[in-house]
């Protein structure tokens, strides 16, 4: 401190010196954990663009997906602030970012359970048809809707083969989350919890919930990284893309369908 003082033309008063010291200490205490967390979790700084070296994706093991369990749906709703369909007054108009699908083969009676949501296509039909470019695919494979340029034309909903998108039909209540912008008249869908990814959580709310429940039917990760857990698992496990005939190169792969 005394060295610093020598270089200053006008000597600082003792009070000012104390204040600078305290402020520095405060800033250090405040910022350090954040910087440390960034280091640990490899979150992406805001000024850095998403990279195409990464392809975020998900593996759904339908053989482990439990009948009647909708923990993934609840977790998504809680994380992203959309009202669960059962508590919505207008059920057919309520947005559903993720839903549980029960399948049954009418001949063999074989039943399959799986979550259905945006499949984050590499060649997304919703991105192709969007007149304003509000529907877009990020470099890391996440398909999103720009809340500021979506005009609510619903052409993407007509184009999506997975019925993954919902229109916000009415004014939203205050359950909105600060990092998940939503709004009346706009179309929305699963974002692969982009806010969590950018924060560096390295997973999504649905995957966390599925793991916490002990079912372990969902796995999230970078499908471009051959050493990632999801890539290793995808190499071992036979998986399918839903409506593979459309050749959309999906970011969500299913085992056991």
């Amino acid at each position: 401190m005394s060295d610093t003082n020598k270089t200053v033309d006008v000597p600082a008063s003792p009070d000012r010196r104390k204040f600078v010291g305290a402020a520095t200490a405060f800033a250090g205490v405040t910022l350090a954990p954040g910087i440390l967390l960034m280091e640990v979790a490899h979150g992406r700084p805001e000024e850095q663009a998403a990279s195409s070296a990464v392809r975020w994706g998900m593996l759904v093991d339908a053989t482990k997906c439990s009948t009647g369990c909708d923990d993934c749906v609840t977790a998504c709703s809680t994380e992203n602030g959309w009202t669960p369909v059962e508590s919505s007054p207008h059920k057919s108009q309520a947005p559903q970012w993720i839903r549980k699908l029960e399948l049954q083969d009418p001949l063999t009676q074989m039943e399959t359970n799986l979550p259905m949501m945006c499949q984050h296509c590499a060649d997304a039909p919703c991105v192709d048809v969007c007149p304003t470019g509000a529907s877009f695919k990020r470099a890391d494979g996440i398909v999103l809707v720009n809340r500021h340029t979506c005009i609510g034309c619903r052409y993407c909903m007509m184009a999506c083969p997975y019925k993954a998108r919902s229109l916000v039909h009415e004014s939203l209540n205050d359950t909105q989350k600060p990092d998940v912008p939503r709004g009346i008249g706009c179309v929305e869908s699963c974002t692969l919890c982009v806010q969590k990814i950018d924060r560096g959580d390295g997973t999504t709310a649905c995957v966390e919930a599925c793991t916490a429940s002990g079912h372990n039917a969902l796995m999230f990760g970078d499908m471009n990284d051959p050493e990632s857990e999801i890539s290793k698992r995808l190499r071992q496990l036979p998986t399918k893309q839903v409506r593979a005939d459309l050749n959309l190169d999906l970011g969500v792969r299913y085992h056991g369908i």
Binding site: H90, K91, Q93, L101, D105, M116, V129, C130, P131, I151
Partner: protein
């Protein structure tokens, strides 16, 4: 007096349409019958019908200028004004049904050129521009020598435009009834039929109410053309469904439209086929077609059938569930695997009717202010025009 009464009547519907929009815009689409399964509802039925009919309303002008049929030249300006008016009505319904109709400026400034919707924005604007110029060449003698060029440009443009409208659906892979290039030429032929039917009714009404003489020669010639268009529309519909029926994967959706779809099936057989094609053909091709009243009846049936066709095309395709897992029974909280039901709400209906009223009021205004119609089109005048 008649003019003002009609004007006031139509203005009332425009007002209802505006109130409906205000209500829908204020509360959101929650007050409509649309939901996350039926995402395009009655407003789209009206909007697409009007846009398609707009293109067809230009028929008579095209025949006059492009194919040089002198008999139709006096009617060409009305044809162009009606085309512009229908386009205006259709576009208004389309944009006022947007989830964020307040963001129209975004649609005008942000473009994704891979989107058929974006191309349609340009096709619609170009249509206004070209038909506007064409109308100018017809009304201003100093530029009359450009009428043929402008008319040809407008003719080619509207063919591309209806190709674009058909391709709005044709370019969609997700729904079984769409995703075929068949929809583009089919929409062109449908536009010919709907546009001409509306034109004939407007023409007859304009002459009758203004006390002018309209001879049978014009009407009888145009009704033959109308019969050809309706027959062609029926042909396209038959080929389209026959082709689908041949593919096993399309059996479900075809059974839904043709047999099991309840209201949709009813609309298809009684609305689109019987009222929209068969009965009008019977009227137009038999002796009944020599009477003005019967021709007008046929025209109104074609228009009703056209609305039914749009309903089946737009709502029917969405009502049938997406087949994500072929052969499996699907069940979920999001109506997967179920037939989706749609009951249009009153505001949707009035928004659509508001578009029709706007189109008619604009035509009425055009006819009155621009004095588009010749004093008389009796058979003697028409015969003189032909020579």
């Amino acid at each position: 007096m008649k003019y003002w009464l009609l004007f006031a009547g139509l203005a009332l519907f425009v007002l209802f349409g505006a109130l409906s929009w205000n209500y829908m815009h204020h509360h959101g689409h929650v007050v409509t019958g649309m939901d996350n399964q039926i995402v395009w509802g009655l407003p789209h039925v009206f909007a697409v019908f009007l846009i398609v009919a707009a293109s067809g309303a230009l028929n008579v002008a095209s025949i006059a200028s492009v194919f040089n049929q002198k008999m139709y030249k006096p009617l060409a300006p009305l044809s162009a004004v009606l085309a512009l008016a229908l386009m205006l009505g259709g576009l208004l319904v389309l944009v006022l049904d947007l989830g964020r109709s307040d963001r129209l400026i975004v649609a005008m400034t942000h473009f994704n050129f891979k989107s058929m919707f974006t191309w349609n924005v340009f096709l619609y604007s170009g249509f206004f521009g070209l038909v506007g110029i064409y109308l100018w060449t017809m009304l201003d003698r100093s530029v009359a020598s450009y009428a043929k060029t402008a008319g040809t440009a407008a003719f080619i443009w509207r063919l591309i435009l209806t190709t674009g409208t058909g391709s709005l659906f044709g370019f969609l892979i997700a729904r079984e009834l769409y995703g075929t290039s068949m929809l583009a030429p089919m929409f062109i032929i449908l536009s010919f039929a709907y546009g001409l039917a509306i034109f004939l009714m407007v023409l007859a009404a304009a002459y009758a109410w203004s006390g002018r003489v309209l001879g049978d020669a014009v009407i009888l010639r145009l009704k033959k053309l109308l019969a050809v268009f309706v027959a062609a529309a029926l042909y396209f519909t038959v080929v389209y469904h026959l082709t689908n029926l041949y593919f096993a994967k399309m059996e479900g959706i075809e059974a839904f439209i043709l047999r099991d779809g309840g209201f949709i099936t009813l609309l298809f057989w009684f609305g689109q086929i019987l009222i929209g094609c068969v009965i009008p053909l019977l009227i137009l091709l038999t002796n009944l077609g020599k009477s003005r009243i019967w021709i007008m009846a046929a025209c109104s049936l074609i228009i009703l059938g056209g609305l039914a066709q749009m309903y089946v095309t737009i709502i029917g395709a969405q009502a049938f569930p997406l087949d994500m897992f072929p052969g499996l029974i699907e069940n979920s909280s999001f109506a997967d695997g179920q037939i989706h039901h749609y009951s249009p709400s009153i505001p949707e209906l009035f928004l659509g009717l508001g578009g029709v009223a706007i189109a008619l009021i604009a035509t009425l205004f055009g006819v009155k202010v621009l004095r588009l119609l010749p004093a008389s089109l009796d058979d003697v005048t028409v015969a003189k025009l032909e020579h």
